[in-house]
Every structure is written in structure tokens, then in C-alpha cells.
């Protein structure tokens, strides 16, 4: 017998529309890729950094397509169910644990980037911890609201994010010199691929779709349609590549020194010198996208943790994961250089498995799941 009072809200059905997932990727992906990543890619690929973004993005899209295939095959199965069909209960739990850790580690750079951006551009001497406690409260609040509210966030923001990118495009294109992109592949494809490999954890955002498996709402008549998710993913990758091209075109060989390209790309516009930096409105809107990116990663980590023990509430796993993420930020603090070293040396192989290899195998897992459960 439930003790729930009459007026208490009934637990929401945690489902998300395919359209919302498409919008979600468009909202969270491009902005988060335009803070530190351009300079990190340019460190290896120099003028061909946009190519690194393109190749990495296309690889991500391929993974997205394969995960979408898995959704078509077994729409009702979540990640734990799929893993369990091949690796058994214990194996599935180990993988879910690894995913939980992976998503937490993936959230760290995004949060660090936001913090650094805020410190450098809005607040010069702001203490780290007191600033980020409110951030974490809102982050945990957003993540524990679950898939449904994240989907609604995407529905709400996609238009504004599109407008923000549009504004930045208009303001920055006048300072772009596209000859900065040439010559293409002067040193061969090596530096381009090296740039991707060294920064692999900055890619693979579509792996977050794994946390939404089994929660996607299908109308009976459109079970086979996965194009809304793919379209959103393609728009996200396209926007990230477009702005990477613009970044290289605007900054030329100095891209490597442009830590927060997104905040600087439009500042040389003649409009802004007369009217003040109203491009900040666009940047602030994109910061919401970056915030949502970390919320989705925290949600994905919490969802993986929840599936390990099979609980119903998302509050406890979100609190645990949020506390772990906060501890991670406190321990690493401002020591991003060391963290980056660890990420690019040790985490890259793990990321290759968790964000590329395993998601790419999900159609096979889904097929096996379907055979087992629909036999």
C-alpha cells in the first residue's frame, strides 16, 4: 500500500521522443566542442583542425547510426538488457560500471571548460568551489529529472541555440579568411588522425544515447523511423564542423592559442564596436547547451548506475554520481594540464571501446536480445 498523499505528483513516465533526442544532440554537442577542442586539435593538425573535427564527427555519426539500428531492432531494451544477453548479469554490471565511470570522466572536461571560460571572460578572480556549488545543485536537479525533462529541454532550446549559432555566424564571417584553411593535408592524414586520437574523449557524445535506450517513445505507425535522431546528430556535427572551419578561417595559425574560440570568434565584428558585445546573448544561450551537455553526461552516468542495481528512483544514483563528479573536480581542481595528459594517454583506449567499439556492436546485441526474447 502506497503512502503517497493524494495530491502528490505521480511519477512521470520517463520516455523521450525521437525528435527530442535529435534536438538534444543539436543543443548539447556543437557548443561543447568549440571551447578547448579547436586549440587542442590545432595543436596536432594545425590548419587542418577542421578536418579532424569532420572525420571525428563522421565517425561519431556512424556510431549514432548503428545505435539507432539497435533501437529499431529492440526498442524496448535498455543498455543493461542488451549487455546481459551477451555478457551475462555480472558482465553487464561490470560494463555498466565502466560506462558510469566513463560518463563521469566525460563530464569533467565540459565542466572544467565552462568554469575556465567563466573565469577568463566574465569573472577574473572567482573562487572555484563556492562558484561551483550552485552549479552542481542545478546540475544534479536537472539530471535527476530524467529523460523526459531533458527531452523537453531540447524541445525548448533548439530554436534559440540555432539562432545563437546563426548570429555568431553572421558576426564572424566578415573576419573570416578561408585561405587560412589551405593547404589541405600538407603533411598527410597523420596529424589529422593524431588530433582525433589524442582528443578522443572530446568526441563520442552520441554514446550518451545508450543511456536513453528503452526510454524512446515510438508511435505504432513509425517504429522503423530513426531519421529524427540521425538528422539531429548530423545537424550537430555539421554545425561543429562549420564553426571549426570558421575558427580556423578567423584565427589562422593562431588557433592553437585560442582557448575559448567560441567566445572570441565574433568579437572582431564591426557591428559590436558600435553596439557593445550583444554577441554575449548568443554565447550565454550556448552556455545553456554546454550546461545541458554535462547534465546529459551526469544523467547517463546515473542511469548506468541505476541499471546496475535495478532501482526505480533516479535521485539516489544521481546524487552519488553528482558527489563523485564534484569530488573529481575538487581533486583535479585547476590542474587541467595533468588531467589532459591522463585523459589522452590512458583514457583514450578505454574511450575507444566504450564510445566506439561497444556502441558499434549494439545492433548485434539487439538482434541477439530480440531472438532471445521473441523466440
Amino acid at each position: 500500500m502506497s503512502n503517497r498523499p493524494e495530491n502528490a505528483i505521480k511519477p512521470m513516465q520517463q520516455t523521450v521522443y525521437k525528435r527530442q533526442l535529435g534536438f538534444l544532440f543539436f543543443v548539447i554537442l556543437p557548443a561543447a566542442k568549440l571551447l578547448l577542442l579547436p586549440s587542442l586539435l590545432a595543436f596536432h593538425a594545425e590548419r587542418n583542425a577542421a578536418l579532424s573535427m569532420l572525420v571525428g564527427g563522421l565517425a561519431d555519426l556512424l556510431v549514432l547510426f548503428l545505435v539507432c539500428l539497435a533501437i529499431r531492432i529492440a526498442p524496448e531494451a535498455n543498455l543493461g538488457d542488451l549487455l546481459q544477453t551477451v555478457f551475462g548479469k555480472v558482465g553487464a554490471r561490470i560494463f555498466l560500471g565502466l560506462y558510469c565511470l566513463y560518463f563521469l570522466l566525460k563530464a569533467y572536461p565540459v565542466i572544467f571548460e565552462q568554469k575556465s571560460m567563466l573565469n577568463q571572460t566574465l569573472y577574473h578572480q572567482l573562487p572555484f568551489l563556492p562558484t561551483f556549488i550552485p552549479y552542481f545543485i542545478v546540475l544534479i536537479y536537472t539530471a535527476c529529472k530524467g529523460a523526459r525533462v531533458l527531452g523537453r529541454n531540447a524541445d525548448l532550446y533548439w530554436f534559440f541555440v540555432a539562432c545563437a549559432f546563426g548570429l555568431l555566424l553572421v558576426l564572424s564571417i566578415e573576419s573570416a579568411d578561408f585561405s587560412n584553411l589551405l593547404p589541405v593535408l600538407y603533411d598527410g592524414p597523420g596529424p589529422v588522425l593524431k588530433g582525433i586520437w589524442a582528443n578522443l574523449t572530446w568526441f563520442g557524445d552520441f554514446a550518451a544515447l545508450l543511456a536513453f535506450l528503452g526510454k524512446i517513445r515510438f508511435a505504432p505507425q513509425d517504429k522503423k523511423k530513426i531519421w529524427p535522431i540521425l538528422t539531429g546528430g548530423a545537424a550537430a556535427v555539421g554545425t561543429a564542423v562549420l564553426f571549426m572551419v570558421l575558427t580556423v578561417a578567423v584565427f589562422g595559425p593562431t588557433v592553437v592559442k585560442q582557448a575559448f574560440a567560441l567566445t572570441r570568434i565574433s568579437k572582431y565584428s564591426a557591428f559590436l564596436s558600435n553596439s557593445g558585445r550583444f554577441d554575449w546573448l548568443a554565447i550565454i544561450l550556448l552556455m545553456i547547451g554546454i550546461f545541458l551537455n554535462s547534465s546529459v553526461m551526469l544523467y547517463a552516468a546515473a542511469e548506468s548506475l541505476r541499471q546496475i542495481y535495478g532501482g526505480k528512483s533516479s535521485l539516489l544514483p544521481t546524487l552519488i554520481c553528482g558527489a563523485a563528479l564534484f569530488a573529481l573536480l575538487v581533486v583535479i581542481g585547476d590542474n587541467f594540464t595533468n588531467a589532459y595528459e591522463i585523459y589522452s594517454r590512458f583514457l583514450t583506449p578505454a574511450a575507444a571501446v566504450l564510445q566506439i567499439a561497444l556502441p558499434a556492436c549494439t545492433p548485434l546485441l539487439a538482434l541477439r536480445y530480440r531472438r532471445k526474447h521473441h523466440a
Binding site: L122, V138, T142, R277, W280, F291
Partner: protein
């Protein structure tokens, strides 16, 4: 036998005993009148009624006088069928029901030797006229508004929707107030699950008294401690009729001129009845203004403070120079200064709502001239701060329905801006939106049709389409019979 009968609530055939029961029941209240008289045939009878809630002329002329002249038979069936010409009358043998009828303004007729009484509809009391409600004034469109009388309000709705599908379901709520509450919906359109949910909630309400519809709203809300209302309110029958036609339900509460509607979407507060009587371009423009009004009322003071404290670069250079000149010498910090101005405004606002009208002019002079002008010339607050507050205050009244929630949010955002600047405001916005996105009203997302995106319902959102384009009922909430307009394809022009 008689006493045993009356203990179980059944009438006795002894008139004196029945009168005794009623006197005991009403504790000798002086406004309960017992009019003893004799029928034409000589049988004793008594009319019992509540003074002040009944039509005395009807009692005198059409009940007492009619029975004295023509009451040749003394059984209640004959009296009902041959003598009385009341439109509303029923035979009742349950004393509880009869007492209840008296309290509602009906007249009870007791006849000696009869173990049944007559309950005659004689309700009448003074009510306000049908006036234009001050909070929903329009330039175009109907101007009639609800008043405190349930029957009048029902009639106003019925006059708009003369259909057999219009259902009025009656309830009584309140242990002592026994307030009549009327649930109203269009049977062909409404989702029956919502009707059942609301009916269940109404039946479970256990409270001493319902003095206004807002009491009922508290019981119907999902999150009772929220600063956002989750039940729609309307003061005009055309608004309620439009909502009923969309598949919503309405609740009319006796004694309240405000009718409740469910399910409720936040978007409804952006809509004005006039939008539907104007050209769609004007309506769209007005809605965009209201939307901007919401944003400006909440965020402008906060952004002004955060720009001053942390991010002066956000303001164009020429403005920066002007602002810096104006704030020179102000002893308070920007956040405290704005907080002070907001607080003064809230006090003035609260006072102006409650004070007698004849001192309104004096308050305007004191508030606007003395306080504003002298505070600036004394160097306590700056001119930009006052101007920002004025913009915010005026913007707040573009959406009066949201005034309470927005004024609280404005203070919260001001606090965040003072402590953390734009970043704090941004976190506040994200938090508030997430809260709103998680709210639901009877299975309807509060932020629909924006999130979740319902493209069909965007026709009546910020950008308003012409009435002829809105062919389907809203899909944001459950309803049946989705087609509401069969538009002619030929010759359609915009």
C-alpha cells in the same frame, strides 16, 4: 414510533413534532421562519424558510395565499399537482434533506397528517449585476463577467453554449459552508478520465468551509507549494466557453466570480480574450510583447545589477559612461540599491491595492514624486536604477495573471545576480525552466506546446494563426473529437 422515525431522519405525520424537529435542528435561529397557517380545508400547515435567502413574494402569494384560498385537499401529491405552481418543487420525506433545502434558500411546506413534505424552490438573494470584470477588460468582445451567484454564472455559460452536450454536475463541499460547486464540461469533447480525476478529488475534500474558488484550486493542484498556479482562472463567460470548447473542464463555485478551468497550461496566461477578436497580426504582436514583458519584468533588474557588478563590458560603451556618471556617489552597492528600489515598489504596490480609492492620488504623489524624485536628488538611489525598476514594473503588468509568481522570481534573480552575476542568473533561469518543464496538470505538460513541442498547437501560441486555420482542438491535453472546424478549401485567403 414517531421518535424512532425521526431519529432515522424520516418525517412524522404529526405537524407539531415535525416543527419541533426543525426547531431543534436549527437551534432556534431567528432567521429561520415558521409561518403557520391553515389550508382552505382547515388542515394546519407550516411553511419553513430562511429569511434573506428566499423570495418573500413567492412565499406569500404563490404558496401561503394559494393554499389558504384553494387548498381543498390536504395530501401533498394533490397540493403539488393541483394547487402550487412553483417551477421547482419536490416531495421529500427525509428530514435531513428538508433541513438542507431550507439552508439553501428553499421553502419547506409541512402539512398536518402528512408524513411527506414539499420542498419548493424559492431561492432569491441580492447579487451583483453582470459587470465587466476589472482584471479582464477588453476593447473588443463581450464585456459581461461572472458574479458571485452560481446560477447566474451557469446561465452565462449556458447562453454561450446552448447544447445538450453541456453538462453541469453539482457537488457540495465544506462541512459548515456546504458550498455548491458545479463541474462543467462538454460531454462530447472532454476526456472522461480528467472528469473522473477531478470528481474524485472534489469528493475527497474535507474542509470546514469553501469561501472562494481559490480554496478549491488548492485541492486540485498537483504541487500545492509551487509559486506557479496550476489551475486556470477566468472571470468572463466567453473565456470559459472557449476553454470548454477546447475540451477543458470548468468549476464554478457559489460565492466566487472566478471560475476555475483544467487542465491548465502556462501559455494560457499569455493569451488574452481580445486576441481572438482582433486580427491575428495584432494578436501575435501583443503576445510577443507579453512574452518580452515576462522576460523583462524578471530579468532586467537582475541583468542590470550583474552587468554593473561583474560584467560592465556587456553594456555598450556610451551607456556605460552614462550609467557610471549616474551612479557616482551612490552609497549603496548596485545589488542593495536595486533591492531597495524593488522593495519600495512592492510596498507601494501592496498599499495601492488595499488602500481606499480616495487616498490613491495622495499615494501616487508620495510614491512617484516624493520618494522617487527626492531619493534620486538625495543621492540614495540612481536614476538608472529607478528607470530599470519602472521598466520591470510596467512589464510585469503585461501579464497580470503571472504577477505574483514573477514578482517573487524577480527578487530571487536579483539575489542571484548580486551574488554571482550573469552566471547566477543563468543558473536561476535553467533551474526555473527545469522546474516548469517537470510540472504537469492532469497529464498535460505545463510548458506545452513549447516543450514538449506540439506543432499543431503552435498555431495558438506566441504566433497566432487565424481562427479559420485552427481546425483541430489542442493536442497538448487529452480530449475527444479533435476536429473543431471544417474549413472550406476554396476561396480561402489570408
Amino acid at each position: 414510533m414517531n421518535k424512532a422515525e425521526q431519529k432515522t431522519g424520516r418525517m412524522s405525520s404529526d405537524l407539531e413534532q415535525n416543527i419541533g424537529y426543525l426547531e431543534t435542528f436549527f437551534h432556534g435561529n431567528f432567521d429561520i421562519k415558521f409561518r403557520n397557517f391553515k389550508l382552505a380545508c382547515g388542515t394546519k400547515a407550516c411553511a419553513v424558510f430562511l429569511d434573506g435567502m428566499t423570495d418573500r413574494i413567492e412565499i406569500d402569494e404563490y404558496i401561503v395565499m394559494a393554499l389558504q384560498r384553494e387548498g381543498q385537499k390536504d395530501d401533498v401529491n394533490s397540493i403539488l399537482e393541483q394547487i402550487l405552481n412553483s417551477a421547482e418543487a419536490e416531495i421529500q420525506s427525509d428530514m435531513e434533506e428538508l433541513c438542507h433545502g431550507v439552508l439553501n434558500g428553499d421553502t419547506v411546506l409541512l402539512v398536518d397528517g402528512q408524513d411527506q413534505g414539499l420542498l419548493l424552490g424559492t431561492r432569491k438573494w441580492g447579487t451583483r449585476g453582470i459587470l465587466e470584470p476589472p482584471t479582464s477588460a477588453v476593447l473588443k468582445g463581450p464585456r459581461e463577467g461572472f458574479n458571485e451567484d452560481l446560477k447566474t454564472n451557469m446561465t452565462l455559460i449556458r447562453r454561450k453554449l446552448r447544447s445538450k452536450a453541456l453538462v453541469f454536475q453539482s457537488f457540495e463541499v465544506g462541512k459548515y459552508s456546504n458550498t455548491a460547486v458545479c463541474l462543467c464540461y462538454l460531454d462530447d469533447i472532454v476526456d472522461k478520465k480528467i472528469v473522473k480525476q477531478v470528481t474524485d478529488k472534489l469528493q475527497k475534500i474535507e474542509i470546514d468551509g469553501i469561501l472562494d474558488s481559490s480554496y478549491i484550486a488548492k485541492f486540485l493542484e498537483i504541487r500545492t507549494h509551487s509559486i506557479f498556479k496550476q489551475v486556470g482562472t477566468a472571470e468572463k463567460p466567453d473565456i470559459v466557453a472557449a476553454k470548454l470548447l477546447e475540451g477543458r473542464i470548468a468549476l464554478i463555485v457559489d460565492g466566487s466570480p472566478i471560475v476555475l478551468t483544467l487542465p491548465f497550461l502556462l501559455l494560457e496566461d499569455l493569451q488574452s480574450p481580445e486576441d481572438y477578436y482582433e486580427r491575428r497580426f495584432r494578436s501575435t504582436f501583443a503576445r510577443i510583447i507579453r512574452f518580452l514583458g515576462i522576460i523583462m519584468s524578471v530579468l532586467v533588474p537582475a541583468l542590470y545589477v550583474s552587468a554593473q557588478v561583474y560584467n560592465l563590458g556587456m553594456i555598450p560603451l556610451r551607456f556605460t559612461v552614462t550609467i557610471l556618471n549616474s551612479i557616482k556617489g551612490i552609497p549603496l552597492s548596485p545589488a542593495l540599491e536595486m533591492f531597495f528600489v524593488v522593495l519600495i515598489f512592492e510596498i507601494l504596490n501592496e498599499a495601492s491595492v488595499r488602500m481606499p480609492k480616495y487616498v490613491g492620488m495622495a499615494l501616487s504623489i508620495v510614491g512617484a514624486l516624493v520618494l522617487g524624485e527626492t531619493a534620486v536628488s538625495a543621492g540614495i538611489v540612481s536614476t538608472p536604477a529607478l528607470m530599470i525598476m519602472a521598466i520591470s514594473a510596467i512589464s510585469l503588468y503585461t501579464v497580470p495573471e503571472l504577477q505574483n509568481a514573477l514578482s517573487i522570481l524577480r527578487l530571487a534573480f536579483l539575489l542571484l545576480a548580486g551574488v554571482m552575476g550573469v552566471y547566477g542568473v543563468l543558473l536561476g533561469v535553467i533551474f526555473t525552466l527545469n522546474y516548469l518543464l517537470s510540472l504537469e496538470s492532469y497529464g498535460t505538460p505545463y510548458f506545452a506546446p513549447f516543450a514538449p513541442l506540439v506543432p499543431q498547437d503552435m498555431k495558438d501560441s506566441v504566433v497566432k494563426q487565424e481562427l479559420t486555420d485552427m481546425t483541430t482542438r489542442p493536442k497538448s491535453f487529452r480530449n475527444r473529437n479533435s476536429i473543431r472546424l471544417k474549413a472550406e478549401k476554396d476561396g480561402k485567403s489570408h
